[in-house]
C-alpha cells in the first residue's frame, strides 16, 4: 500500500512549527486564513514527520498556500498541480502529499489533470478552495460562478453553466468526495482528518469567501440565520436532517429525494440514512445543488463526506509491477542490457 509514513507517538511538532517566516499576503478577511489555520492545527495531530509532508499548488490566491506551510512545498504552474503531485507520489509513495488549488486552477485551466488524478487515485489530498471567482486576476467569473453572474468579464451576466464540483469528481470516479467551508473550523478540521486517513485521492471542496471580489457568495450557508435551513451536514449512518430545530429531513421516494417535515408525523426512521459507500445515493446528494438565492422550493446544500470507496492507488499498481519484475527477472544487469542479444565481433 502507498501508506503514508506515520509515527503513532506524540506529535513531533506543533501548529506553530508549521508557520513560515513569510508574511501571509492574502487580503485581510480572506477565507484562506481560516483554512490555513485549520490545516496547521490538524496536521501535527496526524503523526506524519514534518519532513515527509509536501504541499503542491498551482496558480491563484489559494496556491500561495505552500509558502505559508513550514513543510516541503512547490508553487507550480496554473492548473497543473495534480500532475506534479502525481509524479512525486509515483516515485515517493511514502510522502504525505497535499494539493492546494482553486476553482479556476482545478476546474478551468487544470480540468483535465483534475479528472485524471481522480481516476488514477494517487494517494493525494486535494483541497479545492472554491470561491466562485477569479481573485488573483481581480474579479472575472470562474467555472463555478452561477449563471447570470455579473463580473468584470461578464458585465451583462455570465452565460456559462457552472460546474458542480462534487458531481464532476464523482463522474471521474473519485474515491473520496467531501465538502466543507472556511467558516466552520470544527467541520473543516474533521474533514481534513478524514481526507488524510483515506487511501487514494481525497477530494475536499472548501467553500471559501473572497471578501474582495465575491463577498458573501456562501453567506447563506454560513450565516447563523440561514445556515440551519440551507445546509445539510451529512454523517455516515445518520438520517438526513436539517432545519432550524432539526425539524426537516430528506426521504427517498424511489430515487427521488423529498423534503419532509418531521413535525408533521414523519419519523427520523423514515428518512434517508446516509451511507458514504453508496455511489448512487452520493450521486443524488451531489445534485442538491439548487441556487438558494433564487428562493422557492429547493434542497439544502450538503456538507460532509458524500462518498468514499477503497480502490487501489496508481502508485501501488506501479510499485507492484516493479516488484513483480524484480522477483521474476532479478535486478537488471546494465551490461547485459547494453549487449543485447545479437552481437558480432570485429577483430
Amino acid at each position: 500500500m502507498s501508506e503514508v509514513t506515520t509515527t503513532p507517538a506524540q506529535p513531533s511538532f506543533t501548529a506553530k512549527d508549521l508557520v513560515t517566516d513569510q508574511d501571509v499576503r492574502w487580503c485581510p478577511g480572506c477565507g484562506d486564513y481560516s483554512i490555513l489555520k485549520q490545516a496547521q492545527t490538524v496536521i501535527p495531530e496526524l503523526g506524519i514527520p514534518r519532513e515527509n509532508i509536501v504541499f503542491i499548488s498551482g496558480i491563484g490566491c489559494s496556491s500561495r498556500f505552500p509558502y505559508y506551510m513550514e513543510t516541503y512545498g512547490m508553487h507550480s504552474i496554473h492548473g497543473r498541480a495534480a500532475a506534479f503531485a502525481s509524479g512525486l507520489k509515483a516515485t515517493r509513495p511514502e510522502l504525505s502529499v497535499w494539493m492546494v488549488s482553486g476553482d479556476g486552477d482545478s476546474l478551468s485551466i487544470g480540468g483535465n489533470h483534475f479528472i485524471h488524478l481522480l481516476r488514477r487515485n494517487f494517494n493525494v489530498n486535494l483541497l479545492l478552495f472554491n470561491n466562485e471567482i477569479y481573485g488573483l486576476t481581480k474579479g472575472q467569473y470562474s467555472p463555478t460562478s452561477e449563471a447570470g453572474k455579473v463580473t468584470k468579464s461578464t458585465p451583462f451576466g455570465s452565460i456559462d453553466h457552472p460546474f458542480n464540483p462534487a458531481a464532476l469528481a464523482l463522474g471521474a470516479d473519485g474515491t473520496f468526495i467531501a465538502r466543507s467551508m472556511d467558516r466552520d473550523p470544527v467541520h473543516l478540521k474533521d474533514i481534513l482528518r478524514r481526507a488524510h486517513a483515506h487511501q487514494g485521492t481525497s477530494f475536499v471542496e472548501i467553500y471559501q469567501n473572497c471578501n474582495v471580489f465575491n463577498d458573501g457568495a456562501f453567506e447563506i450557508f454560513t450565516d447563523k440565520e440561514t445556515k440551519k435551513l440551507e445546509t445539510l451536514f451529512v454523517e455516515n449512518g445518520k438520517p438526513l436532517v436539517f432545519g432550524a430545530n432539526s425539524d426537516k429531513g430528506v426521504k427517498l421516494d424511489g430515487f427521488k429525494p423529498v423534503i419532509v417535515n418531521l413535525a408533521e408525523g414523519h419519523s427520523a426512521n423514515d428518512l434517508w440514512i446516509h451511507d458514504e459507500t453508496d455511489r448512487v445515493k452520493a450521486g443524488i446528494l451531489s445534485r442538491f445543488f439548487d441556487n438558494p438565492k433564487k428562493g422557492g422550493d429547493h434542497f439544502p446544500r450538503p456538507f460532509g463526506v458524500f462518498y468514499t470507496e477503497q480502490r487501489a492507488c496508481y502508485e501501488d499498481g506501479l510499485n507492484a509491477q516493479i516488484a513483480a519484475a524484480l522477483a521474476q527477472k532479478g535486478e537488471g544487469d546494465l551490461d547485459k542490457l547494453l549487449k543485447g542479444r545479437d552481437v558480432w565481433e570485429i577483430h
Partner: protein, 614 residues
C-alpha cells in the same frame, strides 16, 4: 543451377510497398542479418503518417532504405542499387531514387489493372511492359502467386497467406546476397511462438524465396559484400530511440537515481516509451500522462522528490511543455527533455524528419529562460548524448534539452556498445545538512549549481516555485535589482557548463583551411561522406559537428575563424546559421533542405564544389 559470384564493396537496397506489405519488417530483418554478418550499415525508414493509408495508392507507399558495405558507411546513401517494389505505386514513388542501370525487383501481381489505376497509371503505360524501364535491370516475380501456391495446404486464409509474401522477397534477397536465413528464422520463431500455423507459413515462404533464386535463372550472378573493417570490438545493431532509452537507463544506474519517464504518445518519440516500459526490473517507472503538459509536470514533481525525471516528445508536444520548462529553469531541478524532431510547424509532417526545432529549443520559452541544448548525430550517438544530457542536468541542477530527430530515431547502425564500467560517473549529492542558519535552497556551489534537498530530509523543509526568487533564500522577491541579478545568475550557470564539456574538434579534415562545414544533429553521416569524397578529389574542405548547442564549446569561435568560409547545412530554413552569425559575427553560408528528408551526400558535395569551384 550454377551461378557466378561477384564481390561488391557496398550496396543500397530500397524496399518499397504498400504500408500493409511489411516493408519495414523486411528491411529491418535484412539489416539485422547484414549487421550480424559484420557489414557496416546505415538505414532510413520512410513511411506515411497514416497507419493504413488507402491501399495501393502513392499516399500509402512505405519505404525502407538500407546501405551496407565492407567499408565505413556513414549514411543510408543517396540513390539505390536495388529497388524492391511490391506494387505500381511503390515503383512510381521511388523510381527517381534508383541509380541508372540499377535493379528493380517487382512483384508483378502489384501491377495488375487495379493497382495501375490506384497509382494513377494508364493501362497503356504499363511500366513493366512499355519499355520505360529499359535502362534498368528488371526482375519480375509473381510473388503473390507463388506465395499462395506454396501455402494452399496450410489451412490459412488468403489474407493471412498474402501477409507472408514479404518473406518471399526477403528470402530471394538473402539468396542474392549470400546471406543465411538463420537470424530471420529465429526472429520468426520468437514472434510467432504462439501461432505455429503462421510461423510455419512464414518460414516456408522465406525458404521458398531463397530456393527461387537458387533454382531459377532469374539472376545468374550472386553477390558477396564482405564484413567491414571497423574499429575492433563487439557490435550490435542499434536504432536511435532504442539508444536513447538505453542511455537513460544507464544514466539512472550510474547516478543511482530512480528513472521516472513521464510522457504522452507522439510520433516519432513514442518508441522511447515502448522501450523503457519493458525495463521494470531496472526500477524504471514509466507514466503515460493525460497530456504533454502533465507529462513534464509529473517529471518535475518526480525530480523534486529526488528521481531522474525525463520526458520525451516531438515539436508540437514540446510547444505545450514550454511553460513547465520555464518553471524547471526557475526551480533549478534536473530534468531531461527529449525532442525527437519532425517536420513542422503545427502537426506538420509527423513521420518525416526535420531539424526545425533548434530555435524552439534555444529560445522557445517566456522570459529569459536559458537551458542547455545538446543534439545527437547518429542513431547510436543517441546513447552517449542522452547520457551526457543527464549528467549535465544533475551536476548543474538544470533542465536540459536533448535533440534527436525522426531520421536517427528510426534509423539504425552498428554500435560498439560500451561496458558499464567505462561510462562516466554521474555524481549526485542530495543535501542533508543546513547550509546556513536556515536552509538556503538557492545557495550555490562553485558551478553556480544549487543544492538538491529532497522531501523526507529533516530540517531542510523549503518551498520552491515559479515566482522570481531572492538570491540564496529562494523566498519570493519582486525586487528589481534582484531580478536582474538572478537572470544573469541563471544565464551564467548555463554558460559556465562550457568549462565542463569537451572542446570542439574537427571530425574530418584540417584545423585550418578554405571551407569548414559545420553541422549538428543527424546531418552527420551525409556531411562526413560528402567531405571524404570531396577531399579525395582534392578539395580543401573540413567537417566539424557540434553536439553542444548551448552552451557552445569554448573554442568554437577559434575553430570557425580558422576557415575562409563556413557552410552550415541544415534540414530547416536556417537556424544554427543565425545563431552562429549572431554569436561569432561571421558570414556563415546557409544550405537548407526542408523536404522532410535527410540530405544526400551528393547534394552537399555539389554545394562544396560550387563554393570552392570545380
Amino acid at each position: 543451377m550454377e551461378h557466378t559470384t561477384d564481390t561488391l564493396e557496398r550496396v543500397i537496397i530500397k524496399f518499397a510497398g504498400d504500408s500493409g506489405d511489411g516493408m519495414q519488417l523486411t528491411g529491418t530483418q535484412f539489416t539485422n542479418t547484414a549487421a550480424l554478418f559484420g557489414n557496416d550499415i546505415s538505414t532510413f525508414p520512410d513511411f506515411p503518417a497514416e497507419i493504413r493509408a488507402p491501399q495501393g495508392t502513392l499516399a500509402g507507399v512505405s519505404g525502407y532504405q538500407l546501405h551496407f558495405g565492407s567499408t565505413n558507411i556513414y549514411s543510408p546513401g543517396d540513390k539505390c542499387d536495388v529497388l524492391v517494389v511490391m506494387n505500381a505505386a511503390a515503383l512510381k514513388a521511388n523510381l527517381r531514387q534508383l541509380k541508372p542501370g540499377g535493379t528493380i525487383i517487382a512483384n508483378t501481381e502489384g501491377f495488375d489493372s487495379k493497382n495501375l489505376r490506384l497509382a494513377n497509371i494508364a493501362e497503356t503505360d504499363h511500366p513493366l511492359e512499355n519499355g520505360s524501364l529499359d535502362k534498368f535491370r528488371v526482375i519480375k516475380i509473381d510473388v503473390t502467386k507463388m506465395t499462395r501456391a506454396a501455402l494452399t495446404d496450410s489451412g490459412l486464409g488468403v489474407k493471412e497467406i498474402d501477409r507472408s509474401k514479404n518473406m518471399f522477397v526477403l528470402g530471394f534477397l538473402y539468396w542474392m546476397y549470400n546471406r543465411s536465413l538463420d537470424n530471420s528464422i529465429r526472429f520468426l520463431e520468437e514472434k510467432f511462438s504462439k501461432k505455429p500455423d503462421i510461423l510455419n507459413a512464414n518460414i516456408k515462404i522465406l525458404k521458398a524465396g531463397f530456393s527461387y533464386g537458387d533454382t531459377t535463372e532469374t539472376i545468374m550472378t550472386r553477390y558477396v559484400v564482405n564484413p567491414a573493417k571497423m574499429i575492433p570490438g563487439v557490435y550490435r545493431n542499434m536504432m536511435g530511440n532504442q539508444a536513447t532509452a538505453l542511455g537513460l537507463i544507464a544514466a539512472a544506474k550510474k547516478s543511482g537515481l530512480q528513472l521516472f519517464f513521464g510522457t504522452y504518445p507522439i510520433t516519432p518519440a513514442s518508441d522511447i516509451l515502448h522501450e523503457l516500459a519493458k525495463y521494470k526490473n531496472f526500477g524504471v517507472r514509466t507514466f503515460q500522462a493525460e497530456d504533454e503538459i502533465a507529462a513534464i509536470a509529473s517529471v518535475i514533481g518526480a525530480s523534486f522528490g529526488g528521481a531522474l525525471g525525463v520526458t520525451a516528445s516531438s515539436g508540437p508536444g514540446i510547444a505545450l511543455k514550454g511553460e513547465a520548462m520555464g518553471l524547471a529553469v526557475m526551480l533549478e531541478l534536473p530534468v531531461v527533455i527529449i525532442n525527437v524532431q519532425r517536420g513542422g510547424p503545427s502537426t506538420g509532417l509527423p513521420t518525416k524528419t526535420e531539424q526545425s526545432d533548434l530555435m524552439q529549443a534555444l529560445y522557445g520559452r517566456n522570459g529569459e529562460a536559458p537551458m542547455p541544448v545538446i543534439a545527437a548525430s547518429s542513431p547510436a550517438d543517441c546513447f552517449e548524448t542522452v547520457f551526457e544530457a543527464t549528467r549535465l542536468a544533475i551536476e548543474f541542477m538544470t533542465p536540459v534539452l536533448f535533440l534527436s530527430d525522426g531520421y536517427i530515431a528510426n534509423g539504425a547502425e552498428p554500435w560498439r556498445f560500451p561496458q558499464s564500467a567505462d561510462l562516466k560517473e554521474i555524481n549526485v549529492k542530495f543535501a542533508t545538512e543546513k547550509n546556513g542558519e536556515k536552509y538556503l535552497p538557492y545557495k550555490r556551489d562553485e558551478k553556480l549549481s544549487r543544492p538538491w534537498a529532497i522531501p523526507g530530509t529533516k530540517g531542510l523543509e523549503h518551498r520552491i516555485g515559479g515566482i522570481e526568487k531572492q538570491h540564496e533564500t529562494g523566498n519570493i522577491s519582486y525586487d528589481s535589482e534582484n531580478h536582474e541579478f538572478m537572470v544573469h545568475m541563471r544565464e551564467n550557470k548555463v554558460e559556465g557548463i562550457a568549462n565542463h564539456i569537451p572542446l570542439q574538434t574537427i571530425d574530418t579534415g584540417t584545423e585550418k583551411g578554405k571551407l569548414l562545414i559545420l553541422g549538428w544533429g543527424s546531418t552527420y553521416g551525409a556531411i562526413k561522406t560528402a567531405v571524404l569524397e570531396a577531399r579525395a578529389k582534392g578539395y580543401d574542405v573540413s567537417h566539424a559537428h557540434v553536439r553542444y548547442l548551448k552552451p557552445f564549446p569554448k573554442n568554437l569561435g577559434e575553430v570557425l575563424y580558422n576557415f575562409e568560409h563556413v557552410l552550415i547545412p541544415e534540414m530547416n530554413n536556417g537556424q544554427l546559421v543565425k545563431v552562429i552569425r549572431d554569436k561569432f559575427m561571421i558570414p556563415a553560408i546557409a544550405y537548407n533542405k526542408i523536404q522532410g528528408l535527410p540530405f544526400n551526400a551528393g547534394e552537399i558535395r555539389e554545394k562544396i564544389e560550387s563554393i570552392l569551384g570545380k
